[in-house]
C-alpha cells in the first residue's frame, strides 16, 4: 500500500496547526476528534479561535488548558447533561483566561461552513429575525430580497485555517468514506484552508472507488491522513464504538473546580504520549461495553460497462 499523506497525529498537528489559528474540529455529536484536541493541548498551542457548532467536552478541555482566545459556537452545553463548566468559568470569570464568544444559531453556523465550503459571497437564511443575537454579532447582516422586498438574514462564509475531520475509512491520500450522522464533516473539509483527516481504518483506494457516492471528502483537498483508531472516544463512531455516556456525565463532576480539571488533563492528556497510550488506560470492560453488534448496509451494484 502506498503511504500517501499518512503521518502520526503528533506530526499532523505539529505541521498544520499554528498558534492563533481558527480551528474547526468537526463532528456534530458524532466522530468528534478528541485525539486531535488532546494533541493540540500537549503541543501547547495558544490563542486559538475554536469553532464548532457544539463545543462539546473537547473544547471545554482545550479552554481549560488555555489554548483558546475565542469560542465560535451555536450550542455550548454538555449534550444530554448540562453546562460546559470550563467554558463558563473562562467566559464568566476569566479562568484560566478571558474568552471571547462569537455566537450563531445551528443553522447560522452550519450555514457559514456551507457558504465557506462552496465559496458563496454570503448565504441568505430564514432565521435570526426578531432574535437578540444579530445586534451582538456584527457578522450577521440583512439584505433586501430583490424578489419580495422583504428583509432577509445573511451570514458570511467561514473558512477556518485548519480542520480535523475524523472518518470511518480513508485511503492513504485522504479519500474518505463517512456514514451515520454526517453533520458538518464535508463542509468543514471543503471550507478549511488545511485539512487533516483522521480515520478508524486506512483502506485500499479500491474500497473507496467501489462506492464513490460515499466519498464525502476527496483526496485533493486533504493535507494529512492519520490512522487513529478510537480517535473519537468518549464521542462515538457509527459502526465502530458507542458514545461513552458515563464519561459525559462524569465530566460534569470532574470540572466543578479548575484544579480538578487540570488534574484530569495531567493524567489523560499530558500523562500519555498519544491515543494508543490513552486507550491502554481505558479498561477492557469499558471497550467491550462500547462495541456494537455488526449491522451491514445492503450492498448496491454500480455495474461495470
Amino acid at each position: 500500500m502506498n503511504t500517501g499523506k499518512t503521518m502520526s497525529m503528533k506530526e499532523a498537528i505539529s505541521k498544520f496547526v499554528n498558534d492563533g489559528d481558527t480551528v474547526y474540529l468537526a463532528g456534530f455529536t458524532h466522530m468528534i476528534p478528541f485525539a486531535a484536541g488532546h494533541e493540540i493541548i500537549r503541543q501547547g498551542r495558544k490563542g486559538l479561535v475554536l469553532a464548532r457548532a457544539t463545543p462539546d467536552i473537547i473544547y471545554d478541555q482545550m479552554i481549560a488548558a488555555g489554548c483558546a482566545k475565542k469560542l465560535m459556537f451555536s450550542y455550548a452545553g454538555n449534550p444530554g447533561v448540562g453546562s460546559l463548566r470550563c467554558f463558563r468559568r473562562a467566559h464568566e470569570k476569566g479562568v484560566p483566561a478571558p474568552l471571547e464568544v462569537e455566537e450563531y444559531t445551528h443553522f447560522g453556523l452550519s450555514g457559514r461552513l456551507f457558504a465557506g465550503a462552496t465559496n458563496m459571497p454570503f448565504l441568505p437564511m430564514r432565521t435570526n429575525l426578531g432574535s437578540s443575537l444579530p445586534p451582538e454579532n456584527e457578522m450577521m447582516k440583512t439584505v433586501t430580497d430583490p424578489y419580495t422586498g422583504d428583509e432577509v438574514s445573511v451570514v458570511p462564509p467561514l473558512k477556518p485555517d485548519v480542520a480535523v475531520v475524523h472518518v470511518q475509512r480513508a485511503d492513504a491520500n485522504g479519500n474518505s468514506h463517512i456514514w451515520g450522522i454526517i453533520g458538518e464533516q464535508k463542509d468543514t473539509a471543503f471550507a478549511a484552508k488545511r485539512v487533516v483527516i483522521s480515520a478508524e481504518e486506512i483502506v485500499e483506494e479500491s474500497v473507496i472507488r467501489s462506492d464513490p457516492n460515499r466519498t464525502l471528502v476527496p483526496d485533493f483537498i486533504v493535507d494529512a491522513v492519520v490512522h487513529e483508531p478510537w480517535c473519537a472516544h468518549p464521542s462515538y463512531v457509527q459502526g465502530y464504538y458507542d458514545r461513552d455516556n458515563e464519561f459525559y456525565v462524569d465530566w460534569d463532576k470532574i470540572t466543578k473546580e479548575h484544579e480538578a480539571t487540570l488534574k484530569y488533563l495531567d493524567e489523560w492528556v499530558f500523562g500519555v504520549e498519544d491515543r494508543a497510550q490513552y486507550m491502554k488506560k481505558v479498561p477492557q470492560s469499558k471497550i467491550d461495553s462500547l462495541t456494537p453488534k455488526p449491522a451491514y448496509s445492503a450492498p448496491v451494484n454500480f455495474g461495470s460497462v
Partner: protein, 253 residues
C-alpha cells in the same frame, strides 16, 4: 392518579397535542418521550426528525443525545447538518417543534442564552442551538416547562427564540414562515395563545390546580380563556405506555 409525577403529566399532555401524520422536530429527553408516546398511541404515522439530520428513526433504546447512534441504525434517512436545517426546517416541512429555556414571557419569547447582560453574563446558558431556527420555521411551537416564577418573566433577559415578540402585530412584520408559539405545557396548566393579541392564555388547569396558583407563579396578570377547561387525567394506557418508554427513569425522574 396521585402517583403520576409532574414530568409524566406534562409529557402526556404534550403527547396529546401531536396529530397523526405530522412531522415533529424532537429534542432529547421530555420532548422525545412525548413524541414517542404519541406515536405509540394515537399518532402511529408521526414522523420524527432530529437536529442531527436523522429522519424516521427507529431507536432500539432511549436516545441519550440527539446524536445517539441508535437514531441512525435503522433510520429512513440521514443527511448533513446544513441539509437538515435547510431541506426540513427552512423547507417548511416540520409541523411541530418543541422548545424549552430558562425564561419565557407572555408572548412566548424564550431565553436560553444568558441570565444578566450578554457581554458580562451572570449565568451563561448554552445558547440557541437550533432553537431560534425551529421557532422561526415550524407551524406550531410547543413549550414544556415547570411552572416556576423565575422561568415566567415580564421580559426575557435575552430573546433567543422568537415567540410573538411584542404581540401579533409586531410579529407579522418579521414575516416568519412559522406559525409561532402554540402551547405552553406547565406543571400547573396548559396555555395557548390569543389569536388576535398573541398573548399566552390559560386554556386548561391540571387536576387539583386553581387559577390562583397559576397567577401566584406568573408575574404578569394571567389571561384566561372564555371557556376554561380541565386537563383530562392521564389514562392508565398513557401512563403505562410512557413508563415502558423510559424503564430506567432517565428522564422520568
Amino acid at each position: 392518579m396521585s402517583d403520576v409525577s409532574t414530568t409524566e403529566l406534562m409529557v402526556i399532555v404534550a403527547a396529546r397535542e401531536l396529530n397523526d401524520g405530522e412531522s415533529v422536530l424532537v429534542g432529547v429527553g421530555v420532548p422525545n418521550l412525548a413524541a414517542n408516546l404519541a406515536k405509540r398511541l394515537h399518532a402511529p404515522g408521526l414522523l420524527m426528525v432530529y437536529e442531527s439530520g436523522t429522519v424516521g428513526s427507529n431507536p432500539s433504546r432511549m436516545p441519550l443525545s440527539i446524536g445517539d447512534p441508535c437514531l441512525v441504525s435503522g433510520a429512513k434517512s440521514v443527511c448533513s447538518m446544513y441539509e437538515q436545517f435547510a431541506y426540513y426546517l427552512q423547507g417548511g416541512r416540520i409541523d411541530v417543534g418543541f422548545l424549552g429555556g430558562a425564561q419565557i414571557d407572555k408572548y412566548g419569547n424564550i431565553n436560553s442564552t444568558v441570565i444578566g447582560s450578554y457581554k458580562t453574563p451572570k449565568v451563561r446558558l448554552p445558547g440557541s442551538g437550533g432553537a431560534c431556527d425551529i421557532a422561526s420555521n415550524v407551524k406550531r411551537i410547543i413549550v414544556i416547562t415547570p411552572h416556576e416564577k423565575r422561568r415566567f418573566v415580564e421580559k426575557v433577559d435575552f430573546l433567543t427564540s422568537p415567540g410573538f415578540i411584542d404581540g401579533k402585530e409586531g410579529w407579522k412584520k418579521l414575516k416568519l414562515q412559522g406559525g409561532g408559539p402554540y402551547a405552553v405545557i406547565t406543571s400547573l396548566c396548559t396555555f395557548k395563545f390569543d389569536d388576535a393579541t398573541g398573548e399566552m392564555t390559560v386554556v386548561a388547569l391540571h387536576e387539583g390546580v386553581t387559577l390562583e396558583q397559576v397567577q401566584e407563579n406568573t408575574p404578569w396578570e394571567v389571561k384566561v380563556a372564555a371557556e376554561l377547561g380541565r386537563t383530562p387525567p392521564p389514562t392508565q394506557e398513557e401512563i403505562e405506555t410512557l413508563r415502558a418508554l423510559d424503564p430506567d427513569k432517565i428522564y422520568l425522574r
